[in-house]
Every structure is written in C-alpha cells, then in structure tokens.
Amino acid sequence: MIDYEKALEEILKEELLRLANKYLPYKKKSLKEALNEKYPHVTTRDGSIHMFKRSELEFLKSLISEDKWDKLKLPITIELNPDYGEGAAIVRGRVEVEVVSKILGIKPQREDEIVIYRPQISVLRRHLRTTTQIAFSLRSIIG
C-alpha cells in the first residue's frame, strides 16, 4: 500500500526546493557586460548556465540609449506576485520598466515598477525568451 503521507512529504520537499527559484541567476549581468562576452551567459543558483541569445541582446540594445546599457540587468525578472491578483506579475527597475513598456506599448504606473498580466507576460516572453526569467515572489512561497 502506498504511504500517501510519505508521498506528500516527498512532493512538498521537492517542489519547495524548486520553488525556491533555484533557476534564477546567482548574479545578474548588465547588458553592456553581456554584449562584450563571446558567449553571453549567467550562472544560476543551482550551478547551471543560462545563455542569452545574441539576437535578443541586440534587440534590447536598440530599445534603450547607450548610457543605460550598464544599468539594465539581465535576465529581467518577472516576479509573480499574489498581492496583485492571480496571474499578475511585477517588473522592477527603471530601465527594465522602460524596456517592458516599450515592448508592450503600455504606459507604466510608476517609473520603477510595472504590473503586467498573463497575456502580456506571453508577449514579453515571445520577444525576450532568454533575457527574461519568471520567478515566484517570496510571499507566494512563504504565504
């Protein structure tokens, strides 16, 4: 007979570990740094490598002025935040907000923060698949 309690514990343990956003980078890189690298990449918290597509970097380069290249940190984190309702996410950072608002064609509510919803996440991911990462906010993990 299957020990359901044990199964539950196993699932919870594994999922919590994964949900601790292990796939996020250990340290973000600026667009300028990434552009100067031969193989632009970041190291994730689980020790693996996450590469950026050069075409996406070039696209980002065309969206913002040169003085902002070292201010844009990659990958851009799309933080799923339950405070704003189910399916809502938040992107923080002035340059990041500028990039997102330009791609989506929307006006941000604040200069350093923008709330986006599921269809917009899809559009954003379609344009920046490797240079964005979806993460769960700490509040959604801890509750």
């Binding site: 359901y4 199964a7 999922e15 796939y23 193989y39 590469m51 399916g87 996440i121 769960f136």
Partner: protein, 216 residues
Amino acid sequence: MSSVKVLKVRPTKIELIRLKRRLVLARRIHRILRERLTILVAEFLDIARKTVKLREELHKKAEEAYFALTLAYGYHGRKGLEKEALAVERKVTAVFGINNIMGVKVPLIETEKIEKTLAERGYSLADTTLYIDEAAKRFEELLKLTIELGEAEKTLEKLGMEIKKMRRRVNVLEHILIPRIEVTIKYLSMKFEEREREERARLKRVKVILSRRRGE
C-alpha cells in the same frame, strides 16, 4: 458513501494540529504548482506555434533547395557537381547552451553565420554557374532553419514532459492528498467531539450517583 479514504493516523490532538498545518502547506503548494503549470502551458503553446511555422517554412525551403539542386544537376551533371562539392567549405560553427524556463532546462543553439558569400564557399567561380550558387544559397538557408527547428522541437519535448509531470502532481494534490487530509481532519475532529460528549455524559452520571449517595 465518500470515496475519499481517511489517512492512518493516531487520534491525538498533536496529530490534528500537524494535519492542519500540512493542509495549509499542501494548499499553498497546489496554488503555486497550478500557477507554474499555467505558465509552462503558455510557453509550450507559444513554442508549438513557432515550431509549426518553422516546419512549414522548412518544407517550403526544402522544396526550393532541391529544385535548385536539380537545375544545377541538370546543367553540370553528376561529375561536375561532385567536383565542385569537394572544394566547398563545410565547416559550420554552432554554440550549444542551456536555457532555463522555470526550472526546465532546454537547449539553445546559436549558429555563427551559416550563409556564406560567393568567395567564402570555396568552389571555382570560373567553372560554375548561377545554378550552383542558387542551390548553395538555398541549402545554407535550409540548414539554418533545420537547426532552429531542432532547437524548438527539443524545447517543446522537454516542456511537454515537464507539463505532464506537473499535471500529475497537481491532480494528486487536488484529488487525492488534499481531500484525504481534509477528511482525516474532519474524522479526528468528530472523534474528539464524540470523546468530549462521552466524557460529559460520564461526568453527569457520576454527579447523579454522588448526589444519590449524599441523599441516602
């Protein structure tokens, strides 16, 4: 009769508290997993659309490439084509990396300039015609598309496997584990209430006996 089974637990208050805590945790995990599943499905559909488009384009390009090759074959003949093919620069450089989509590791292939100029291709321009140039160009485009399609299809496969696993987990939580914990909590609560009622009835009985004795 309910089909949900009660978990085998000791009927103690500590166990009830533990189960209630576990229920809160299980519900939270279920919500997060559902959210993750939704995002993965959205990514999957997006890549599936891209894959279909790429495949259609690949079929079209392959048709064009083989048509161009047939023309070149017709003009130069087998020997002529083989002679020029020997001199062709075959090297294609590609970088294989990993891209992480919400914990799912998918491949990323970056090719370095597949489309070559006439001079870079390596065959003699004096002995060849436009037919060979056209065929070479079409096959370079085809190769680029094939690599892109390979990346997209592998991503699709990896995401599909993860979605399957994730859906099973969400279903286990939703239809088995959470209902079982709920039923067990209900069962334990009822058991404690029953015990309390028994205790109260016993106390009442003792009170009656004591008052009867005092009355004697």
